[in-house]
Assembly symmetry: C2
Homo-oligomer: 425 residues x 2
């Protein structure tokens, strides 16, 4: 790939949507690669909102050491946001404001690090900039623990949450197995994945033999059947002595209702804040009379950089590097995606995919990854998932026993435009 030795203009990097344990590894790779090419990198504070508000951060004010530490710091160091730009017709003012901000700061490259929505936004920004005669290289950079981006073999962020989940199942199950004879016999772990069971599937990597944990995985793709579930739990406890259940937060009943919302009320009749795990645990206790515990790690699962997958961290950095290379080579409207070239030994490379192929598509968990009985994963799923959690990505711990994470200075760039009222919500 050719890169210009003195590229014109600056690069703007923005994070979008739910953050991950390794999104900052992408950010660090973007900054390092651009710096090496003599290109200045600005970051938008709180994602696209910062770009609209002209609230930009000069990453040039961060030391090399800080950027190196950024590579192993979880969360989104510049702030992310949940804010979806609508179509160009509805949100034309936003798009024009964005181009005005980019133009004011001589930003010629825009890297948007997010999921399906962000790919769509990057695509639309490219269209508008073209229509307005402002040359801009727009690149989508993949990220999501949900693993639901189209085209790419996997999404940076997913491998680490997959590893966290498999380790959690293995460790907690050793605990349950110890106590089952006279105490807790059933353990329910709720994992993220409202629309697809990718993370739930990854839990299956914790076990190899039929009676290893997890004994039951409940996927959002398979309608929950209470009687069948309880019969399985009962049979597992009878056979193994205990039972570990992994349930996706998106589990639904046959009527398509989320179980987490199916009847959890406080004393005042308010709907309680969900959790499918307590609902399942309540069923096990009430219908089977078995002692049960449940866990809901929530953000712990997607921020656990201390347990990141080395494969995932490497891929997060690789997409960041490639994004800068594509941008500087004049390739707009693409996303660097992960291409799997072999399962065993696992091999992958980065290649550009047109944003039109990524935007607004969703990668579903294939039915062939779910066992016929609906409660476990298949050999095909294992083949796909296994490499993604391989390798550890150690990080420095301080003398206080805690991981050393960086807090960037995040120095604001002086504004050049009037404030934008519509950007302040």
């Amino acid at each position: 790939m050719t890169t210009r030795s003195r590229p014109a203009g600056k690069l703007l990097y923005a994070q979008s949507g739910g953050v991950t344990a390794v999104i900052n590894a992408t950010a660090a790779a973007v900054i390092t690669t651009a710096r090496a090419q003599g290109v200045k990198v600005y970051a938008a504070r709180n994602g696209i909102l910062g770009a609209l508000r002209e609230d930009l951060i000069d990453t040039g004010k961060e030391s090399t050491a800080a950027i190196a530490a950024l590579a192993h710091t979880p969360g989104g160091a510049f702030g992310s946001c949940r804010f979806k730009l609508k179509g160009v017709e509805q949100d034309r003012a936003h798009y024009e404001r964005l181009i005005a901000v980019l133009r004011a700061h001589d930003i010629r490259y825009f890297l948007y690090n997010g999921g399906n929505d962000s790919a769509d936004t990057a695509l639309k920004i490219a269209e508008v900039s073209h229509a307005l005669g402002y040359p801009l290289g727009c690149i989508g950079v993949p990220k999501t623990v949900d693993n639901d981006l189209a085209v790419t073999d996997t999404c940076p962020g997913f491998g680490s949450v997959a590893k966290y989940t498999a380790v959690a199942v293995r460790e907690a199950s050793l605990d349950v197995a110890s106590m089952a004879e006279s105490s807790t016999k059933v353990f329910v772990l709720e994992v993220m994945g409202r629309h697809a069971g990718w993370i739930a599937a990854a839990a299956g990597l914790a076990g190899h033999d039929p009676d290893d944990a997890p004994h039951l995985i409940l996927f959002p793709e398979i309608a929950f059947d209470e009687a069948a579930f309880l019969a399985r739990v009962k049979a597992t406890v009878a056979r193994v002595g205990w039972c570990t259940v992994v349930a996706s937060e998106g589990l639904k009943n046959a009527a398509g209702q989320f179980l987490a919302e199916a009847g959890n009320r406080d004393a005042f009749g308010h709907s309680q804040l969900g959790g499918v795990a307590p609902v399942l645990a309540g069923l096990v206790k009430q219908k089977l009379g078995l002692k049960v515990h449940w866990a809901l790690p929530d953000y712990l699962q997607r921020s656990a950089r201390h347990l990141a997958s080395a494969t995932d961290a490497a891929q997060a950095a690789a997409v960041g590097r490639a994004a800068v290379e594509y941008a500087l080579a004049g390739r707009g409207g693409v996303m660097p995606v992960i291409v799997r070239t072999a399962d065993a030994p696992y091999r992958w490379k980065i290649a550009p995919a047109p944003l039109t192929r990524v935007a607004n598509h969703e990668k579903k968990l294939p039915r062939g990854f779910i066992r016929k009985d609906g409660y476990g994963i298949t050999a095909a799923a294992r083949r796909y998932l296994a490499p993604l959690i391989r390798g550890e990505a150690p990080l420095p711990y301080g003398r206080d026993g805690l991981p050393v994470y960086v807090r960037l200075r995040n120095v604001a760039v002086a504004r050049k435009l009037p404030a934008y009222a519509q950007g302040d919500r």
Copy 2:
């Protein structure tokens, strides 16, 4: 300390109560130390229940490599139990059966690895064996994530759950901080500790500056004041932009009721399986209208050997070694406890404490460890807690990306006595 070169009889080791990330480090040290002295070690399957049922495991059938791996495997490798022997008067048959089992297998040393109850049981077994003219060295070995054992400076198991909790707060808070501007503003983490706020206090180690997470710690020692809590959350969000709350599962209202049981009902009016975090999250959402997330790691926190404290793992091994040394030196009725000799630099040693001083006492979280306003920890707490989470205790990972934990063979010893009906429940 003198040890006999050819001690008479065998040693029985049993695990009791909730297991920890490092209780097997104690077990491994017991086995290794006894082996080196030529003493055979049996383990009771599922704790004292196995001893009553004459369900004993011959640890001599485990390889040196298996015992080495045991040292970094979480859970209780021989099984633990929740079963408290009552007084000698009420449960005389149990005590006499125990002595009969020990006598039948020529067991002259009994090491009971547990909390307050186990110390009490060990004490009573010593009394009964003495009364029956059966010479037996009874040693209590400390263990509990609750850190509530008397005399010992800390309890093996606690330092690792403390480290897990502090790391979880730091990592999840980076996630929340990234998203707060347009999404989740409040995060509630529920931690173990039904009767004392030791684990909740440890969460305080995650922050150093006043506005670092955790912003609020809710201790079981301080009655929950809804209005004051909500005002604090609101003020923190206004000042910092977001707020991390750590709540002990044992949080109670002014009337002494557990919050986790204070009104969580399903559609059928059944009491749901607790969780103080969802109750607090519901309050924040309903009363403040802020987007909130909550996590409840449950067993994940006490089984997370992958994040164990090196200090904790070293102390768990040290009490195991000392227990064997005391037993072989003929010192019965004691517990090896951790004695802190200096805070900075942290220094500790192991010393014997009479079981009479440990049994049925409880170490409360000192009021001087809780900040005057009730929502954080003091410098004294920090001085006590900080050394306990220091150091990492790395473990081997397999090519599959998961920690390598051992499953012992747990070969049963041939029975010599008739079955004991009262031991089968």
